[in-house]
Subunit: 107 residues, 2 copies
Amino acid sequence: MSAPADSREQVFDALADPTRRRMLSVLGERETATATELAAGLPITRQAVAKHLAALAGAGLVEPTREGREVRYRLTPEPLSGAMAWMATVGGRWDTRLGDLRKRLEE
Amino acid sequence: MSAPADSREQVFDALADPTRRRMLSVLGERETATATELAAGLPITRQAVAKHLAALAGAGLVEPTREGREVRYRLTPEPLSGAMAWMATVGGRWDTRLGDLRKRLEE
DNA sequence: CTAGTGTGCAACCCGTCAGTTGCTCATCAC
DNA sequence: GTGATGAGCAACTGACGGGTTGCACACTAG
């Protein structure tokens, strides 16, 4: 497996929170962002965002880079493939349509 | 989007718990199972399993069928495709941005 | 140097949730 | 009928997690 089973837990856990998913989505469009930048577009404090970023970084979904006095985060979506693989495996035994979707996504 | 955004929340939430993922995995191999059957293979009570099954059913990942005095659950993995699609989108946008960046840098 | 902005750390509420126990109701076997 | 087994419901506990505030530290700008 490309992803250690241990990290799968962290990935699913990271994805469980709507705010974190939203942050991932933003980072998908935005290249990089700092905690304060993200907080500006969310109804929560910068510190809360920082905690979420820590969770995302722990799952390997995001990578921090220090630049002077600020820290820019960029999306590193590789771990998502592990989660998707798990779903495809579970669902694939039952529903072949899911297998088809997986094939399409793998292209 | 193919999946109502509302149910996506429930799906990701359902997948966040390791016990629930394990139950899904078992149901993927086992066709159907009752709450007590599942509890037998897990370190928790039947009632706890029942709660998890309720969560899974709420996410549409599992469907209960009454058979006499017992209730058999079977896996209905369709909602997984919604979650997978979301991940593919987030990760895919990232790929696109990377491509754009590369193009711009090459000029 | 001073002011301003961005991070990091710690302590602290508060809600939710996984799990438990205890009981009742429904169904099958005898 | 009686007894056993399976499901459902309700209340409770304990822990974890999201969010906050408050303050200290680091870096840039003037």
